[in-house]
């Protein structure tokens, strides 16, 4: 059964408050050489049937991604292969 990973990250230019807070805390802990933190959310879905690519894309577009701020990538985990990418 294919395991599909939907990866969602912010587009360049969109400030991610969580990443900003982590970076600030790293500085407070003395890691001054860390220049940037970027966060990507990964959703792993187990989708039976042949339609898994379509279903995963649909789920991502309906519920997880706003193309105004997000970048999204779909990966088939078992094959480790990128099958679709887009804003």
């Amino acid at each position: 059964m294919p395991r599909v990973r939907i990866e969602v990250s912010y587009l360049k230019g969109v400030e991610d408050p969580e990443a900003v807070t982590i970076l600030k805390n790293l500085r407070d802990l003395g890691y001054d050489n860390v220049k940037e933190v970027r966060i990507t959310k990964a959703y792993d879905l187990l989708i039976p049937g042949k339609n898994y690519r379509k279903v995963a894309t649909e789920i991502a577009e309906k519920l997880m991604v706003n193309p105004v701020i997000h970048h999204m990538e779909l990966k088939i985990l078992d094959e480790g292969k990128k099958i679709h990418s887009g804003k």
Binding site: L11, G13, V14, E15, T21, E61, K62, N66, V68, I69
Partner: protein, 768 residues
């Protein structure tokens, strides 16, 4: 000709003097100024008169200042016409600063405001809604008040309705609720009251109206103005970035969600900065270190510095290099108009700088001194040693005023054919209770922390811990050592306002008034948040004017002040416009919160009374929507009756005569009484024969009139009937586990309360 004192470097000037109309519009478009030809021509004439061309930052500043969002150019004329002169002596500040200030007791005031964040939420629902909450909190904070409660009125498209650009309705609804939830919960400010409404007119134009109430000592109130020359200007909190550039211009035109420019207007909000910022600001206020304060919202520094100095009769000198930036490559005009969140502007005496910096440092808040207050109403901005903006504030902040053409509705009073009575009232009732308009709001409300701070006395839901029902209004007890409470409600009825903006708005106001009364509190002040379509369309403008007229009439009659407000126009996109949506936030006072009255039935064997005269009109009701009837006449509510009832209800509450009390609104009489049953799962048996003559369906489902349902203990009945006289009629008794309704010796409804509650609970299951 006015002589220029210093000169803007020639290489920074943009040539507009002598340019053709086509060129002027080309400049407005290419710089995203959002100004029309008339406004660009006014700018050209002005710069001709001072004998030089403007710099880019000057044009950008004018674009911000003259946007609908900042200067209310379409609404100002009418707001002034209808709202001036509504005054009460207990109001400290109304329609002047960032929020209204009203007396709470002899030492304290409460501060309140509501604002829309519609366009940002349509493009990025989570960030838009979250920053709406963040912004409204800062509006209350900048008056020197501790924010104590949040309210939110949300208007969504139909579940399963068409996509709004790339976004599904479920995404929009879910993410807006999440944004409101996360910002408030992370700050620890309870979200206690509000409303959720669905209609297809919001498919492409979801509305987010966020309100906030704060409490302050009367002498701690800080004005949003600077009158002391020589004060320094401090910018504190979040850094300034490219996020949220041109937000106000974008909010001042019809929305096109697909355009790439929207990305620059998106702000995600960072509550982790705002939380310590609130503490730091309140410490500074308590030590009386600040002379003037304003939050940065739409228009950024440009509008905050300008408005603060203009209203205080001073000017400002700003060094843009001193502003702390997220990105060092920002252009000066970007710094000046950025709408980055979590920022506050403070005007302070320089002798207080040392102590202020200690306080900010102890809360880990970044800040910098960005300029000083100068004599004369002028704005001077320097960047890297060069003067880049030099404008008189009277020109920069006053803005054009349009007395836009409007068309009043033509009333069509023709009677419509009502459908025959339903064959089965039981299923009609189930349909109404399980409709998205009436059903339980628990799936939304439970996401909000409504008890943090420990001062929520009447929660948005009341009843037992496992069985709860909607409260009419929420009550908070803002001060530790006082039993006095604030009751809060907000909402609208867009369909009624669509049928008749004047009568509809009056009904919205009456419902808010009844909600406050039903908790045993007396209405005290109003904030309006007016969401309408494109003001250049005379019909949309007519709806706006009628709605404002209704608010003005109501406030004069009921002697209630409008203390602050917000106007959001241009809510048109996807080829549709919204229904006129005046959200009314109302605040009431209750002398002793322990005497608060709640919705649910509490005992078996209580007598049920109906208060107020019957008004059978189902136009715009949930029942008629479900049956597909569309009569348009909306009755004007009887304000005299409401006034009389309010005196009796307050006396009854003070004497402890009510076991429970609930007003009749959406879903009609039967919905109201079922909601009373749901709190403690106590049934009822009532007879509608006591109502005035009419169809049974009208008796059950009409939403009109100033009606309340009260439950009274038998031992209090004598006192109760003596107090209310003919205004109240006994219609039944509480008890059992069933909802039983008779009309003229016929049993019209007989259902298990459990069954009805399941229908009511199921309404939003596919929505969120």
């Amino acid at each position: 000709m006015t002589k220029v004192k210093r000169s803007i470097p020639v290489n920074r000037r943009i040539k507009i003097i002598g340019r053709s109309p086509k060129d002027l519009m080309g400049i407005s478009d290419s710089l995203s100024l959002g100004l029309n030809l008339d406004e660009m021509t006014q700018l050209r004439e002005y710069f001709s008169s001072i004998g030089r061309d403007p710099s880019e930052i000057e044009l950008q500043a004018m674009g911000q200042a003259w946007s609908e969002h900042c200067c209310y150019k379409s609404s100002k004329f009418y707001l002034k016409k209808y709202f001036s002169g509504i005054k009460r002596d207990y109001v400290r500040l109304a329609m002047e600063d960032d929020a209204g200030v009203v007396d709470f007791d002899s030492d304290h005031v409460y501060v309140l405001k509501m604002e829309s964040h519609n366009h940002p939420s349509a493009v990025e629902p989570y960030g838009g809604a979250a920053t709406g909450v963040g912004g409204i909190i800062r509006d209350v904070l900048c008056m020197g008040a501790q924010p104590v409660a949040l309210l939110d009125s949300l208007y969504f498209g139909i579940p399963g309705g068409p996509q709004n650009g790339p976004l599904s309705q479920k995404f929009i609804t879910g993410r807006i609720v999440a944004g409101v939830r996360d910002y408030g919960n992370r700050l620890g400010i309870p979200n206690v009251s509000g409303s959720v409404y669905f209609n297809e007119c919001y498919n492409h134009n979801p509305l987010v109206n966020a309100g906030c109430v704060g409490i302050a000592r009367r002498d701690d109130i800080v004005r949003s103005r600077i009158s002391k020359t020589g004060d320094i200007l401090i910018l504190a909190g979040g850094r300034t970035g490219r996020d949220g550039i041109h937000g106000v211009n974008f909010a001042s035109k019809d929305l096109d969600i697909q355009r790439n420019e929207n990305i620059r207007s998106v702000q995600l909000g960072n509550p982790i900065i705002e939380e310590p910022l609130i503490h730091a600001i309140l410490d500074i206020v308590e030590e009386k270190l600040v002379d003037g304060m304003k939050d940065l919202g739409g228009g950024g520094l440009s509008s905050s510095v300008g408005e603060m100095c203009f209203s205080g009769g001073t000017g400002a000198e700003v060094l843009l290099d001193k502003v702390l930036l997220k990105d060092e490559s920002m252009e000066p005009w970007e710094i000046w108009i950025s709408e980055s969140q979590e920022r506050m502007l403070l005007a302070v005496d320089s002798k207080n700088l040392q102590r202020i910096s200690e306080i900010f440092n102890s809360w880990d808040i970044e800040f910098s001194v960005i300029g000083k207050v100068i004599q004369g109403q002028v704005m001077n901005i320097y960047y890297k040693g060069e003067l880049i903006l030099d404008l008189p504030l009277s020109f920069l902040t006053s803005g054009p005023v349009y007395c836009r053409h409007y068309t009043m509705r033509e009333r069509n009073e023709a009677t419509v054919e009502y459908p025959p009575e339903p064959s089965d009232y039981n299923s009609a009732l189930r349909d109404v209770l399980s409709s998205i308009q009436v059903g339980s709001r628990w799936p939304v409300v439970r996401q909000y922390d409504f008890t943090v701070r420990g001062s929520t006395v009447v929660k948005p839901f009341s009843g037992t811990s496992t069985e709860q029902t909607h409260s009419d209004a929420t009550i908070i007890k803002p001060l530790e050592n006082s039993m006095k409470g604030l009751s809060l409600t907000s909402g609208s009825n867009p369909l009624l306002c669509h049928l008749d903006p004047y009568a509809g708005t009056l009904n919205v106001l009456c419902e808010a008034y009844r909600n406050i009364l039903a908790t045993g509190s007396m209405p005290h002040s109003i904030v309006d948040c007016l969401n309408f379509g494109n003001p250049e369309n005379s019909h949309a403008m007519g709806d706006f004017v009628e709605s404002v007229e209704a608010i003005s009439y109501f406030c004069r009659k009921m002697e209630l002040p409008v203390v602050s407000g917000n106007v959001s126009l241009y809510n048109d996109s996807g080829g549709s416009t919204i229904f006129p949506t005046p959200t009314i936030m109302m605040v009431g006072l209750i002398p002793d919160v322990s005497k608060a009255v709640k919705t649910p039935f509490r005992n078996k064997g209580d007598s049920i009374y109906l208060i107020g005269k019957d008004e059978f009109n189902i136009n715009g009701s949930v029942y008629s929507q479900l049956r597909g009837v569309s009569g348009t006449a909306v009755p004007i509510p009887d304000l005299q009756e409401l006034s009389e009832i309010s005196i009796l209800v307050m006396k009854g509450a003070e004497d402890g005569l009510f076991e429970s009390l609930h007003d009749i609104s959406e879903g009609g009489f039967i919905t109201a009484i079922c909601e009373m049953a749901f709190g403690n799962m106590i049934g009822f048996s009532v007879d509608l024969s006591e109502m005035k003559h009419g169809r049974t369906a009208f008796k059950l489902f009409s939403e009109m009139g100033n009606r309340f349902i009260a439950a009274v203990r038998p031992e209090n009945e004598e006192k109760f009937t003596k107090l209310f006289g003919k205004i109240a009629r006994k219609i039944g008794i509480t008890g059992g586990k069933r909802a039983v309704v008779h009309d003229l010796a016929m049993t019209v409804i007989d259902l298990d309360i459990e069954d009805l509650k399941m229908s009511w609970n199921s309404a939003l299951k596919d929505v969120i």
